[in-house]
């Protein structure tokens, strides 16, 4: 396989997705308004410690923005009949999967960075470990964009089916990832459930980066997120290849 052609195909799929699906007024406005609404919903009137709460909030933002549009791209393109054209271009399945993932990751990092910068200016957030924070941004955005790509993989050309599946999987995760209850305070089955959620490790990385109050070492959180990325991409590839064998 020609590596240059492969990398080019990923770059063009990413550019195509950014132009068509992400650089749209409503999508960007949603991306920016969503954090504000979530902040008001979970913070105002609850007398929470902002330093303790913010890493979870930031993790939730990155999680939602990076995985928001990705699940819709493939079903939408199947419905619009542009998917077959895309597959017939010089791309392979990996180009499409990684291109979809990159677009989601860029969108997630972009929106979350704006939220972080504005929040830092207003709230003067602590910064305990900039490396852990940066690692969280990069690995978290890729991991949850990969989740978006995996959610887009089942055989359907009906985006609403995928939206239902996406909500069913994504929404419960925010309640079992140490966002509202610090990881250190969890015990028993709550703790077991939390260790199964990939979002837990992103939130923990942000804790390490912002207030230094992490449960796991940053390298461990990073390793788990890398594993999650590989599993999500691998599963997306298996499902999408099966779709190609079955006839899309």
């Amino acid at each position: 396989m020609d590596g240059k052609v492969f990398l080019r195909s990923i770059a063009v799929v990413t550019e195509k997705n950014m132009r068509i699906y992400y650089f749209k007024g409503p999508v960007v406005v949603f991306g920016l308004l969503f954090p504000l609404i979530m902040f008001f919903t979970f913070f105002i009137g609850r007398n929470l410690d902002i330093v303790l709460f913010f890493p979870g909030f930031l993790g939730m933002m990155l999680f939602f923005t990076a995985s928001s549009v990705g699940p819709l791209i493939t079903p939408w393109e199947k419905r619009e009949k542009t998917y077959e054209r895309l597959v017939s271009l010089p791309v392979i399945l990996e180009s499409i999967i990684i291109g979809d993932l990159m677009a989601g990751a860029i969108f997630g990092i972009g929106i979350t960075t704006i939220v972080f910068v504005v929040s830092d200016a207003l709230l003067r957030l602590p910064l305990a470990n900039i490396g852990a924070l940066a690692l969280g941004f990069v690995l978290g955005s890729i991991a949850f964009a990969a989740l978006g790509t995996l959610l887009a993989s089942p055989t359907t050309d009906n985006p609403s089916n995928i939206m239902m599946l996406s909500s069913l999987i994504r929404l419960p995760l925010i309640f079992v990832s140490g966002i509202f209850v610090p990881l250190g305070q969890l015990t028993g089955w709550e703790w077991i459930l939390t260790t199964l959620s990939p979002l837990t490790y992103l939130v923990d990385l942000f804790h390490a980066g912002l207030n230094g109050d992490a449960v796991y070492p940053p390298w461990f959180d990073g390793l788990v997120l890398v594993g999650v990325i590989l599993v999500f991409i691998g599963c997306a590839k298996v499902i999408q290849r099966r779709n190609l064998v079955k006839g899309i």
Partner: protein
């Protein structure tokens, strides 16, 4: 080296075998037509050739590159218009062509020059900055063609490129196919339109129920059905079937106020009919001979009526 070489392709969907041991060899620079009724396996075969569908068995090589072993290498040599394949509705006409050109690694100057050239050829220069969502079906199909030919592919594959188009768009599409062929591209197209295949193709394969039932030039396929030649004749008064029991006539059927007389030797049949008319004091009002058509060959091969 063949432009396209598909060997023993087979594809089943559950219990249904859509393509059953199809092999095609398409030499360079020809226009190869793939004809067949709905559900015959045309699109499934095209999808396997273009790498969109993975065959159960068999292999495809495009200009010597195996589509399954080296999909990127093979796809770089192809331009494809999928069945009902449309373009990105939220991009402009020019953006659609430019983004396709990027997949083929064309540099910026080349992309822009080629996009302008193709848009002019397809009569869309004035609409280049308009969002495709506002275009008619014919205009979208022209953009689809533009995307497929932007990199001057050595092999151009079109799945029913003219279906549902208005006369103007259809003519533009056909002219573009011919132009690409003159420029050196090998063309593989599927169509329902037998006249179009007859007009465009140098070689035709007819596929039915997942198997290729005939391959040859349009003239060769028509000649294979020479027995379907006929003479159409009308007399000034009603006649019975007995009149047509003459040398060289295989059978006769009444068609409105005329008789259709089937023969394998039209010249002999016309002479027999003239003699019979003179003998029975009949006046011939009209007489015409007809050669077999590709449509007749198609209908006979695919088991139609």
């Amino acid at each position: 080296m063949d432009a396209i070489e598909a060997v023993h392709l087979r594809k089943s969907f559950g219990p249904v075998t859509a393509v059953n041991d199809v092999s095609i060899s398409i030499p360079p620079e020809g226009i190869f037509g793939f004809l067949g009724p709905n559900g015959a396996g045309k699109t499934t075969t095209i999808r396997m050739i273009t790498g969109v569908l993975i065959p159960d068995t068999g292999s495809v090589r495009v200009l010597g590159t195996d589509v399954n072993a080296d999909p990127l290498g093979a796809k770089l040599k192809m331009g494809v218009i999928p069945e009902n394949g449309t373009v990105y509705s939220d991009l402009t006409a020019e953006q659609n062509i430019i983004i396709t050109a990027k997949f083929f690694g064309m540099d910026r100057a080349n992309r822009e020059r080629r996009a302008a050239e193709i848009l002019a050829r397809l009569g869309l220069s004035e609409r280049k900055d308009d969002i495709v969502r506002t275009f008619s079906k014919g205009m979208r199909q022209r953009i689809s063609i533009a995307c497929a030919i932007v990199h001057s592919p050595p092999v151009l594959i079109l799945d029913e490129p003219t279906t549902g188009l208005d006369v103007y768009s259809r003519r533009l599409v056909i002219d573009t196919i011919r132009h690409m062929n003159q420029e050196g591209s090998t063309i593989l197209l599927t169509t329902h339109n037998i006249e179009e295949a007859n007009e465009l193709c140098t070689t035709i394969s007819i596929i039915n129920k997942g198997k290729i039932v005939a391959t040859g030039s349009p003239e060769k396929l028509k000649k294979a059905f020479d027995t379907s030649r006929y003479v159409e004749i009308a007399f000034d008064q009603p006649v019975g079937p007995d009149l047509f029991e003459a040398p060289g006539i295989t059978r006769a059927e009444k068609w409105g106020d005329k008789w259709r007389v089937y023969t394998d030797d039209p010249d002999r049949a016309v002479k027999s009919l003239a003699s019979a008319a003179e003998r029975d004091h009949l006046t011939i009002v009209s007489i015409a001979t007809s050669n077999p058509t590709l449509e007749e060959a198609f209908v006979r091969l695919t088991g139609g009526i």
